[in-house]
Symmetry: C2
Subunit: 660 residues, 2 copies
């Protein structure tokens, strides 16, 4: 079938998540981890086809991003000490709000429970008013991911102003703090939806897994919640590796961890997941991109902030060039990566019509971020954030540098030197030891790290009064120094080098979520055999490329099977032999579920003349040729981007009754 015929078939046989999951579980794309031990929610294992698919996606990611842009890939540890994540803000802010039911011991995510209960009441109200359900499209993505806690909808009509209030609350649900959620629960009398019992007020639950490093148990650590911090901490080494020049990008592929309160949506919300992250370091004064022209004509669906603020969901379709020119997307580099993300997603089989780029709302975005766009993929759970693409400004390097006192800057030689006037402070250090004893280093460090604004104030104080007073963290009392100890002056110097903290553009990929979306986008059933599914993966990322099918278990066919196997192995084309003895049709159907793009059939004619049959998964078209011809066609189509028609143009069409 052609692409449009598959689209037609998708309309004929409606998508069913249950059917897809039956295939994915039945063919061991994935399975709940530790199933025989009762399982652990939010943990999944990838079986052979899932693992191979993931490996192919990662391999392609590496070629598409790392190799193409000459990125500096690093592999940093997952174990991360407390101090690092304290500095990055994760210890304080990487949390969700949870409420406990003290009677049953159940734990609920506060925002989810408020959302669900209010929605259930609104639904009951609509039924009481004789109105239908709200259209599915309008439901929030995240909500649909979860199995409902509210088991029963009570048909109760609400006051009109209550309906309005609930709706307003739901529209802002992502923006409430924990205490605010607690107030809403009291105000709207929201408790355990099954028993009705009151819940304890929301408390913050940090989503990082904690552990102790070393035998003493003293060094607290976490499993990283993202791969980014390791890249930031290695910035100086990476800059040196790159001969001191920016822009450059680092990249990292690896597992990260989030101890979700109540993970439910299958592969979409898990506690251990594969990420691929890029940190592109760029001059804050020049975010142009030399290869921007290569992406500027790509047309995308954008959902910018203002459209969302107006309550609309209709995307704006324009080219990346237009998006950047109109300042909708902040800068060229951000636009370039949006384009590259789009191209990558297309290569691995995302449905073009089910991708949009959504801009973060003001309250979603970190205070330091300049702009942020999520690539969202549409699935049966709604629109899912799969790739984030943020301009994080200089935040990360600045906080780590402030904490460690290690400078993280780029030094750029100025073509024309410039005069810079600024305050400078000089300490007569030999006097500090006698005066401050063990506190001397802290006092010195405090003074040497004052900002220009602070220095301006202190310079005036020193000039006016002959001394400065100040206090230093961890040092007791107010301190005082006169001008024998310290000089603060405004001086003008000629600078030949410009020093700057680069900004970071961060495309961040949730590989597991992308993979699940591709599963959904690739799944369909033939109208004549609706009970069986087909996973139409692009050959490049398909878990296995070829199913080798001897027509029967007759020993005569064995040498040909061996010969084709050896040739495929030598060509490094992954394949699988199915000599299970069931009918060819059944074997092909099984194979369609595995998403294997090509079947090679060996029959008794093969023994005579060395020819074999090649079958294409989607169209079920078949051609016949020599082993070498067939394998070359597979190689061209699977790896070189050649079309089926082009790749098989010199091969004879083949029709058989059995091998449909």
């Amino acid at each position: 079938m052609s692409v449009s015929e598959i689209q037609q078939a998708k309309k004929t046989v409606e998508f069913s998540r249950e059917s897809l999951e039956a295939v994915l579980r039945g063919r061991f794309f994935y399975a709940p981890a530790f199933e025989s031990y009762g399982g652990v929610s939010g943990l999944y294992d990838y079986g052979p086809p899932g693992c191979a698919f993931q490996a192919n996606v990662v391999d392609l990611w590496r070629k598409h991003f790392v190799l193409e842009e000459g990125m500096l890939e690093v592999d940093c540890t997952m174990l991360t000490p407390y101090e690092v994540l304290k500095t990055s803000g994760h210890v304080d802010k990487f949390s969700d709000w949870m409420c406990k039911d003290t009677k049953t011991g159940e734990i609920f995510r506060a925002d989810h429970i408020v959302e669900e209960v209010l929605e259930a009441r609104l639904k009951g109200d609509r039924e009481a008013r004789g109105l239908g359900a709200k259209p599915v499209e309008e439901e929030s993505a995240d909500k649909k991911k979860r199995k409902k806690k509210v088991k029963e909808i009570k048909v109760v009509k609400l006051e009109d102003d209550v309906v309005k209030e609930y709706e307003t609350t739901l529209a802002k649900i992502d923006g409430f703090s924990g205490p605010e959620l607690g107030e809403l629960m009291v105000k709207y009398n929201i408790g355990n939806p099954v028993t009705g019992d009151k819940l304890e007020p929301p408390i913050a639950f940090n989503l990082m897994f904690e552990t102790a490093i070393g035998p003493s148990g003293q060094l607290k650590g976490y499993l990283r919640p993202e791969t980014a911090q390791g890249q930031f901490l290695n910035f100086n080494k990476l800059l040196e590796f790159n001969n001191g020049k920016t822009p450059f990008a680092s990249a990292s592929i690896g597992k990260s961890f989030r101890n979700e309160i109540s993970p439910r949506a299958g592969l979409l919300r898990v506690r251990e997941f594969l990420m691929a992250e890029i940190e592109h370091f760029v001059d804050p004064l020049d975010k142009s991109h030399p290869k921007f022209d290569e992406v500027k004509d790509i047309k995308l669906r954008f959902l910018p902030r203002d459209v969302q603020e107006a309550g609309a969901t209709e995307p704006v379709v324009k080219t990346i060039g237009e998006a950047v020119a109109s300042n909708m997307v902040d800068n060229e580099t951000l636009g370039y990566f949006i384009g590259r993300i789009y191209m990558f997603l297309m290569k691995i089989g995302v449905d073009h019509d089910r991708l949009r780029f959504r801009q973060h709302m003001a309250n979603e975005m970190a205070h330091y971020a300049a702009d942020c766009w999520d690539a969202e993929l549409h699935t049966s759970y709604g629109w899912i954030e799969c790739v984030g693409c943020a301009d994080r400004s200089a935040f990360d390097l600045t906080v780590h540098s402030n904490k460690t006192k290690e400078k993280m800057v780029v030094r750029q030689k100025l073509e024309t030197p410039i005069e810079v006037t600024k305050y400078e402070i000089d300490l007569v250090k030999k006097l500090f030891g006698p005066k401050f004893r063990k506190d001397a280093p802290k006092v010195e460090s405090y003074l040497l790290n004052m900002t220009q604004d602070q220095l301006a104030v202190k310079a005036k104080e020193l000039a006016d009064t002959g001394k400065i007073t100040f206090s230093v963290p961890e040092v007791e009392g107010e301190l005082e120094l006169d001008d024998k100890f310290v000089t603060i002056e405004e001086r003008t110097r000629v600078e030949h080098v410009r020093e700057f903290v680069p900004n970071v553009i961060e495309p961040s990929f949730g590989i597991g979520r992308i993979i699940y979306a591709v599963f959904e986008h690739s799944f369909w059933s033939r109208p004549e055999d609706a009970a069986r599914g087909v996973l139409s993966f692009p050959p490049l990322v398909a878990p296995s490329k070829v199913l080798l099918v001897p027509l029967s278990n007759n020993k005569e066919l064995q040498p040909i099977v061996s010969k084709v196997s050896t040739t495929l192995r030598k060509a490094e084309i992954p394949f699988k032999v199915d000599d299970s003895g069931v009918s060819i049709g059944k074997r092909y159907a099984r194979n369609d579920e595995l998403g294997t793009p090509f079947g090679v059939t060996i029959d008794f004619d093969s023994v005579q003349d060395g020819s074999v049959t090649l079958r294409e998964r989607d169209s079920t078209k078949q051609v016949r040729g020599s082993i070498e011809e067939i394998i070359e066609a597979i190689r061209q189509i699977a790896y070189k981007g050649v079309t089926w028609d082009e790749g098989t143009k010199n091969l004879k069409p083949f029709v058989s009754q059995e091998a449909k």
Copy 2:
């Protein structure tokens, strides 16, 4: 230089670990993680060349093992619940013995401290006797990995019988339990080697990182200490995926974690490391291997158990075929994997002369293991275990199956049905509930899971006395049942299916250790430039394949640089441009340290006639040809196993003064 010339150079310029580490750190192959935060011992990050080298090794591993054998690769979670690791034995046994100095708070590994102190005393004794140091070869590998705790050697002569006793103790050091180590410390008066203070008796320190899964904190989990358990737990799904047939193998590549007490030896003993493990499931009655012939003529250095027991270190050199035929290696499948491991290590650049296969001694091997061989690589730290290859019998599947009550067996249709006589037990279950109430399921389960031996005893008891007495774990008191409740009989049935628990052959690779050994094996210096190192990686695994060097920063050369870059990118050959402006010689020297096998120089002739120069890293030979010819030569040599001479035979030799 040819291989033998490199060997010659290695003799001229002696290996220096300091020089190697300076290169590895300087070129950012790796760095201590969180260095700007003071670092965490045992945690390292791989920078761009280390990360690329690792990715290439993993890619080759996948092709060499997974693709070649059609293995079923899985990707299982690192987070693992307590119960699973309790069953596998890790909770109880995966630990080292540690001693605390209560005064200083220092923690020592008990076996290490005993070993170090006794060795220091023996060394002092040898000095007192005027004897030289022991030859380095004889020192144990593990000992040399550690920075010494004993800072000072006291020259004190010991009694002859004390020397003998110390030597005997050291020879058995790996075999002592914690309490035995404690006794030795008392007996030999071993305390903190610096202060002399007494240490607390050894306590077991479990090496797994612990964490809590989920918001309640109730579900205790660990970071996996190996990837194997996930593969065992998925056995039934893998067997089904393989159409119910054995033998087959699963494989997994991923990080594992060990909370080492005191990690010191750089990349060799780390807390987070990459493993690649294979679990080959095989019929216990038939461990032959169909491809054994492909490896049987490979000659290897074996260090079998009996040689070690005799105190010798001279390996036995024989073919794998001879090793299996003489029962030195237990079976063909184990032998086959030993051969494949050897081939893999050769491909990635291990020095043939610095590899041996050492058999586990009786006290090293798990009680259930049938045989175990370690591939050890020789480094400046001594002989290091890098790959384990064990026949683990049916242990793992059996313990998990016993715990979960999920059968993990292979069902094999028998060609000729057989008669089997065995005891069977029948319960009249409707009587169990009234008699045992809530304990009924436990009692039933106990009775139904009795072994044939137990049943034989109980059958006799029932026949003799009309009743059986027994006790059930977690059920109070002795229980009694008469023949109204239970029947136990010997019955003969015709069986058409044979059921068996497969045995597991487990090749397990420590990728980080292998990589470090390859670093050492590949490192040498040119006698004429001994201060600079060369890393002679095989092109296939080299981090980057090509350094692109424009002769100057003249703009005229730019179009050629772009053209070569585009062509290399299209051919998916990783490369790096060095337009840093330092001399070509310096750029090549830098590149030698990165182990890049090829240099492509662009000069002003390139602008005229489109030709470029190709330089080979080891020999510094140069040839000249068109861009297409040069890149094709690179492709053939780097990826297709073609030699330099063969790959460049149609290209003109090139000599220049500058580009040496």
